[in-house]
């Protein structure tokens, strides 16, 4: 096990910079998720840690060693690929034992290690099968087994669940998290799915266009997103954004007043701001709330999602209670001022 530190890491492809000086510290035994939309550089960053991409500038430390010029096999890492990358002509056992075979371990020893990993992942019955005889979920587990057998300092996962169906994804999500708790190893996990990031991570690194937008625990990111991008990326349904003007300790859209808490706000009077509020921070009020004109109602069973508009701007509310309402109705809603996120419209940075 080891910590991983990225120091001003850059990647340049033919004069185009795709990773712009990334600094991330991953502690020993931490589960860190790199998340962002496709093309944000998260996979490239992971592959740079793995040694599959050259590091154009900066340093990658694994433990106390700078691994920039080390080949992948010397970095003591294991990687689980999106396509699983199982060797098609080898059995499950051979796949899992390949790294030990390469290390020159004795056959009996390899067998013991493979069986140990197979037991953890419930693969014992499949050891003599070939990858083509396995289901997607089983292949996924074999890929993890291959990583476990190595007993590496760091596990790297590159979108390992994207090829599975939704139900299996949820199950495997839990299995990977359980595996982390059991092994206590350092794990770096890449995904574009913010739910995966939120549910699995000790620490999330949100990336966009080769920049790190924010690093923090899932709830820290959820509760205090540093900028408009993170605020919109984390959470589902996404945060409501209303465009208004900051004046007299509140936000004004037209002449409707949107309340803000007493927290200090770094904006001058009259500054154009984005007023952000998560859908679950809306509450139905009987009389004095803001008028939400209902467009669509989506009952999910556990919650009711109401899509509508206030002062001409689109707003989604998520309510625990069930209620009868129809498109065109006007609901009175209150915003919890302590849960309001204010962003400068120009810089898109948080200002409260």
């Amino acid at each position: 096990m080891a910590n991983v530190n990225l120091r001003d890491v850059r990647k340049i492809y033919n004069q185009t910079q795709v990773i712009h000086g990334v600094n991330v510290d991953i502690d020993d035994g931490e589960f860190v998720v790199l998340v962002g939309p496709s093309g944000c550089g998260k996979s490239t960053l992971l592959r740079m840690i793995a040694g599959l991409e050259e590091i154009s500038d900066g340093q990658v430390h694994i433990g106390s060693t700078i691994v920039n010029d080390m080949s992948p096999k010397d970095r003591d890492i294991a990687m689980v690929f999106q396509s699983y990358a199982l060797y098609p002509h080898m059995t499950v056992a051979q796949n899992m034992g390949f790294s030990l075979q390469m290390r020159g371990n004795a056959k009996a020893e390899i067998r013991i290690e493979v069986e140990k990993a197979a037991k953890i992942l419930d693969l014992e019955a499949l050891l003599e099968r070939y990858p083509r005889q396995l289901s997607g979920g089983q292949r996924q587990r074999v890929a993890m087994g291959r990583a476990i057998v190595r007993n590496p300092q760091v596990f790297l996962f590159d979108e390992p669940l994207s090829n599975l169906d939704a139900k299996l994804r949820v199950i495997m999500r839990g299995e990977i998290k359980a595996l982390h708790q059991r092994l206590g190893s350092t794990m770096v996990y890449v995904t574009h799915d913010q739910i995966e990031a939120m549910t699995m991570a000790d620490k999330i690194v949100v990336m966009r266009d080769g920049f790190v937008e924010q690093v923090g625990s899932p709830l820290a990111l959820y509760d205090r997103p540093a900028n408009l991008f993170v605020a919109g990326f984390i959470g589902s349904p996404g945060m409501n954004f209303l465009s208004g003007r900051y004046a007299a300790g509140a936000v004004w859209i037209g002449d409707v007043r949107f309340p803000v808490s007493d927290l200090p706000v770094s904006a001058s009077e009259g500054r154009r701001v984005i007023y952000g509020i998560r859908p679950e921070n809306l509450a139905i009020s009987d009389d004095d709330g803001l008028p939400l004109v209902v467009d669509v109602i989506e009952p999910t069973g556990a919650e009711t999602h109401v899509v509508g508009h206030i002062s001409g701007q689109r707003v989604i509310g998520v309510f625990r209670e069930r209620f009868a309402t129809r498109p065109g109705d006007v609901l009175r809603v209150k915003f919890d001022p302590w849960k309001v996120h204010l962003f400068d419209q120009q810089s898109e940075q948080r200002i409260n």
Partner: protein, 322 residues
């Protein structure tokens, strides 16, 4: 000129006319059957022109060859197995041995070189140009290739100026005696095989390149992380993944080895111990005018090639890359 145009027009009209003459009455005939039978009969009606053509150019000659192989030189009387006894006798033994040499050396040499080329091409920037150069000889007829290589192999007695490319280089560099590439029995068969390799390597490389390109990049990356070096990656990942494709190449070249003719005919015409089955068949038929022995060789060739062909077809059908 006008008669040629007339022939062309006639040909253009006659072919569809023949096809129609078969299909139209057939269609009319099956109309009388119930709907269900019609759909099972119809493919046969439409396939019949092709089947007739296949019968004419493949099945009939095949049957005729088998019959001729049991008759004498002029096909005038039955001679039993005597043509086959001759074919397995001492006259044919060195010829058969040469084909064994071809079938072992030629596919292996081609496959090894083409595989190295395919893997190396995958790693260079100017892949397209390099591949074009490799494929160029393939565009040439084997006869033309053989003529070129005959000049490469030209031998002049020692102390004479060496006009053959290879001997010019050989004598200039080593200062030793020139080599009679096509006469010296220790090298001449290999010299012929090299020509065939040169002509075939383009297509073989193309097939194997496709296999290399089809191999998921992540497979190699996974092996690299698992600690495999370049050789181990080749041995444990690339080679097994490409094995079905390699088999296709090997079997195709093996079939070629069995029926190799033009290179041998042009370069040595089978002299100096370089004769092969197909060239011997040509000699028996057109030089010695012995229909019986020539047919026996043809049948022998067919029997030898059949298992390889079946293997080849099976390999191609299974996807060649699964």
């Amino acid at each position: 000129m006008t008669s040629q145009i007339l022939q062309l027009v006639l040909g253009l009209l006659a072919m569809p006319a023949i096809v129609l003459a078969i299909i139209l009455p057939g269609e009319l005939a099956i109309r009388r059957f119930p709907q269900k039978r019609q759909s099972s009969l119809r493919p046969w009606i439409w396939l019949s022109p092709v089947l007739a053509l296949v019968g004419l150019v493949i099945a009939y000659p095949l049957a005729a060859s088998i019959v001729f192989s049991f008759r004498d030189a002029t096909a005038s009387k039955w001679v039993g197995f005597s043509n086959f006894v001759w074919a397995f006798g001492s006259a044919m033994r060195p010829v058969l041995f040469n084909n064994v040499l071809w079938i072992v050396v030629f596919p292996l040499l081609t496959a090894v070189l083409a595989l190295s080329a395919a893997i190396m091409l995958d790693r260079v920037k100017y892949e397209r140009i390099a591949r074009t150069f490799l494929i160029l000889p393939t565009a040439m007829s084997f006869v033309a290739g053989a003529v070129i290589w005959k000049m490469m192999y030209t031998y002049e007695p020692p102390m004479q100026p060496q006009t053959g490319t290879l001997n010019a280089i050989w004598t200039a560099i080593t200062g030793r005696m020139p080599i009679a590439w096509l006469i010296d029995r220790s090298v001449n068969n290999y010299a012929l095989i090299v020509v065939a390799v040169w002509m075939s390597i383009g297509v073989a490389t193309l097939i194997l390149s496709a296999g290399v390109k089809n191999m998921p990049r992540e497979l190699v990356e996974a092996a690299r992380i698992d600690g495999a070096g370049e050789w181990a990656i080749f041995r444990f990942v690339t080679l097994p993944s490409l094995w079905p494709t390699i088999l296709v190449v090997l079997t195709t070249q093996a079939i070629f080895s069995l029926k190799v003719f033009d290179i041998v005919y042009v370069m040595t015409n089978g002299s100096f111990g370089t004769d092969v089955i197909a060239n011997r068949m040509y000699t028996e038929l057109f030089v010695k005018q012995n229909l019986g022995t020539a047919s026996a060789i043809a049948v022998l060739l067919l029997i030898l090639a059949s298992p390889v062909i079946f293997m080849n077809i099976k390999q191609i059908k299974s996807g060649g890359g699964e």
